[in-house]
Symmetry: C2
Subunit: 144 residues, 2 copies
Amino acid sequence: MNDGEIKYKNYLHSKGQKFTPERQIILKEVLALAHHFDVDELYERLRRKGHRVSRATIYRTLPSLVENKIIKEAVRCQDNITKYEYIFGHDHHDHIVCIKCGKIYEFKNEQIEKLQEITCKGYKFKPVEHRLGIRGYCQKCRRG
Amino acid sequence: MNDGEIKYKNYLHSKGQKFTPERQIILKEVLALAHHFDVDELYERLRRKGHRVSRATIYRTLPSLVENKIIKEAVRCQDNITKYEYIFGHDHHDHIVCIKCGKIYEFKNEQIEKLQEITCKGYKFKPVEHRLGIRGYCQKCRRG
DNA sequence: TATCTAATTGTAATTCAGTCTCAATTGCAA
DNA sequence: TTGCAATTGAGACTGAATTACAATTAGATA
């Protein structure tokens, strides 16, 4: 078992819940995904690999992975699908999202991060996390 | 007609669209709302005032008000309803939210805004709106 | 002012992500 | 090994949001 699996198993145990094969399969795949994903993508990937985990189980498992901070809900995208994003062991980054086609750019700007810290200091506020999402039109869609 | 209505009418005109009574009614109500709202709240308010605008029309109008920067989609809330927030005539601001006591500081940092614009330019992306929320502990709560 | 036409509207049907029910199954503690 | 609460899959259900379509209308033009 890798770090993520141990973390999740302990988390489930602490809540009197079980580390089932289905949950392990889902977690494994989520940890293998480098980027954003939604329930359907995850379902199809598992299916292609021969794992028969139902959509219902995926829908039930992802929120608990969110609570365990292994993934988080990503920015709202164009269609109203909930997208998730791997965070366990990954660096923080912000998002630029196209309203029209749903394309997502990830970026990180150290100056912005720094300015946020300075702002927080001004309020004597201790930041834990932040989320910055810019929405608009990508190069292709701004023409349409 | 007030500023908002003129702005919207011009916007519609520029796209070859019409400033219909329904759109005017919706806009008027939106401008009268000081805070967050969703489609159903808006529909009920209009209904109580005797306006018979269909939900479909509201669903069709709000996105164009978003594009015209009169409102914006608010943060995703718990239930998956799309919430909107009045912005026209209000200054844009970002949020610092205390995880513990819920206190909200509003702030705006021109340098951060500028850096976002530069970042978008780098991606040839046309920003429509952005959302920055910092979560953590306020001065009082960080001690606790 | 009357005419014309593309845009718009309301209704109702449809879509579809997400949730829920329930019977069957299973992890795991004792 | 047993007992049972937690879990699963299948499929029914929910409800926000979208769409088709026929009727209506805003607004440009003459």
